[in-house]
């Protein structure tokens, strides 16, 4: 059985590397995108099970990507984990997302939460 896909949308290459490594170890296949607009284009193509989403992104902000995910019929099952340093903005998006993680994010915590959100675990 193929692994569920996790899309990491993060513009800092070091953080996307850490997130990829961690979420991969939680049993996902990883794809990384550093740009909000590109992420919106790719989302319906790969229909990821999990999106780890930064909010301050180039071109299109994370909250728009989140709104887009929630509008798409094909992405109904996609779980969204916000990963941001902007506590105020994150709190206002708490209801639309499945989880909010404030940077800096603990690897152990991210792995545990990503495992919990895996479709075969839910």
């Amino acid at each position: 059985m193929s692994k569920p896909i996790a899309l990491i949308v993060e513009d800092d290459p070091r953080l996307s590397d850490i997130f990829s490594e961690t979420v991969r170890s939680a049993g996902y296949e990883i794809e990384v995108i550093a740009d909000g607009r590109q992420a919106m284009g790719r989302l319906v193509e790969i229909e990821p099970a999990l999106v780890v989403l930064d909010l301050h992104l180039p071109h299109v902000m994370g909250q728009e990507v989140l709104a887009y995910i929630r509008q798409q019929e094909r992405l109904q099952k996609t779980r969204v984990m916000l990963a941001t340093a902007d506590a105020g903005l994150a709190a206002s998006l708490e209801k639309q997302s499945d989880l909010v993680l404030l940077k800096p994010i603990s690897v152990g915590q991210l792995r545990a939460l990503a495992s919990r959100l895996r479709p075969d675990e839910a």
Partner: protein, 380 residues
């Protein structure tokens, strides 16, 4: 666009600044001064008939106008000119005035001209100083706003590299990039705990900048009070254990299990108070008490048997960057933001905070918050 331009030019032409007497153009000032004198000369026969010789006191009108527009020196000159003018006008009207009357008139008009001129200049100086003060105040407020914005941006930007330090150290310690020995793992965990300390500092700076710039927002929702208290106790239990402190908590049975508030910020308030209590207590105990104060309020009380706060420092402990024990042997690490953040958050929540402390007698901080209890079934 045209309308906007017209409005702008109308406002410019009739702005308060330009129509203030001392700011009028020189030509306008001359015209007004001459007009005042001409008006007085022209009206003199009518004044004399209707008011008699006493009406000549109205000469103060052109003198006053001159003094108000031009200032002290012009006021005196106008007084000097108007006195013989008045005498001349009386003579022309066939009603000569006595020498004594003339002298007293001259002196009175000169004094009045001087007083009005002096008051006018004084008024001008006060006005200019108030303008300078307002400009300095605006400048200070703008500098403060920029400082808060800068602090917020810097704190925000610090979190990204801090996340990378923390993440890579954790992954390395876990052996993700190859096996590490016990000693290496210990050192990597040292990096992780230092990064967490740094994160707490950055968070405090970020919170303070949010508070100072008025951008701190609360997100109230129903939450279970016991879970919050447990989480705070668990966070601090290790530090308390390391110091062999008795670390206890009482939640009164009549405290509603679920209240409405911002759980993140209430956790921060309690956590800051408990962390401080443990930090400044070397032996004895730290006790947390949660209870309803009335039907409208509930309280969190943190009591310790620590070093206590000197009475002289108590009025300042809620100010940013202040610490009660900076220069003495009780000094502890930290930048002195914890209590001021607690104070500001409590104020934002329309609550109150009191402190009861004495040197060597420990401290007791009580935070009271508005109580909105809800039924557990109502929680979504």
């Amino acid at each position: 666009m045209t309308t906007a331009k017209k409005e702008q030019s109308f406002y410019d032409r009739f702005s308060w600044e330009k129509t203030r007497p001392t700011n009028l153009r020189k030509r306008t000032k001359i015209i007004i001064t001459l007009a005042a004198f001409v008006l007085y000369i022209a009206a003199f026969p009518v004044i004399l008939v209707n008011l008699g010789p006493a009406g000549s006191a109205l000469v103060i009108m052109p003198v006053g106008v001159t003094a108000r527009i031009w200032g002290l020196r012009a006021g005196i000159i106008a007084g000097v000119i108007s006195a013989p003018l008045n005498i001349l006008l009386f003579n022309l009207a066939g009603n000569p005035i006595t020498f004594r009357g003339g002298i007293s008139g001259v002196v009175t008009v000169i004094i009045l001209g001087a007083v009005i001129g002096w008051l006018s200049e004084l008024l001008e100086r006060i006005y200019q100083q108030s303008q300078e003060l307002a400009a300095a105040r605006d400048q200070a407020m703008e500098a403060n706003r920029l400082k808060s914005v800068m602090l917020s941006r810097v704190s925000h930007e610090l979190r990204t590299p801090l996340g990378a330090v923390l993440g890579y150290a954790e992954l390395l310690a876990e052996g993700t990039y190859g096996s590490v020995n016990e000693k290496q793992c210990e050192k990597l965990n040292g990096i992780v705990s230092s990064a967490h300390e740094l994160e707490a500092l950055v968070s405090d700076l970020l919170d303070m900048s949010r508070i100072e710039s008025g951008r701190m927002q609360l997100f109230p929702k129903p939450f279970a009070i016991m879970a919050l208290v447990d989480s705070v106790m668990a966070q601090t239990a290790v530090s308390a254990q390391e110091k062999n402190l008795q670390f206890t908590c009482t939640v009164w049975p009549d405290m509603p299990p679920t209240v409405v508030g911002d759980p993140v910020r209430i956790n921060q308030i309690l956590s800051n108070l408990v962390t401080n209590a443990v930090k400044y207590t070397d032996e004895g105990n730290v006790h947390v008490e949660i209870r309803p104060e009335s039907e409208q309020r509930w309280s969190m009380k943190v009591t310790d048997t620590g070093v206590g706060i000197p009475p002289g420092s108590q009025p300042y402990i809620f100010e940013p960057f202040r610490q009660a024990h900076v220069d003495d042997s009780y000094a502890r690490s930290g930048i002195g933001l914890g209590l001021s953040i607690v104070y500001e958050l409590v104020t934002l929540m329309r609550g109150g905070i009191t402190v009861n402390s004495g040197v060597g007698q420990g401290s007791s901080f009580t935070v009271t918050l508005p109580l909105t209890a809800i039924n557990t079934e109502d929680i979504v």
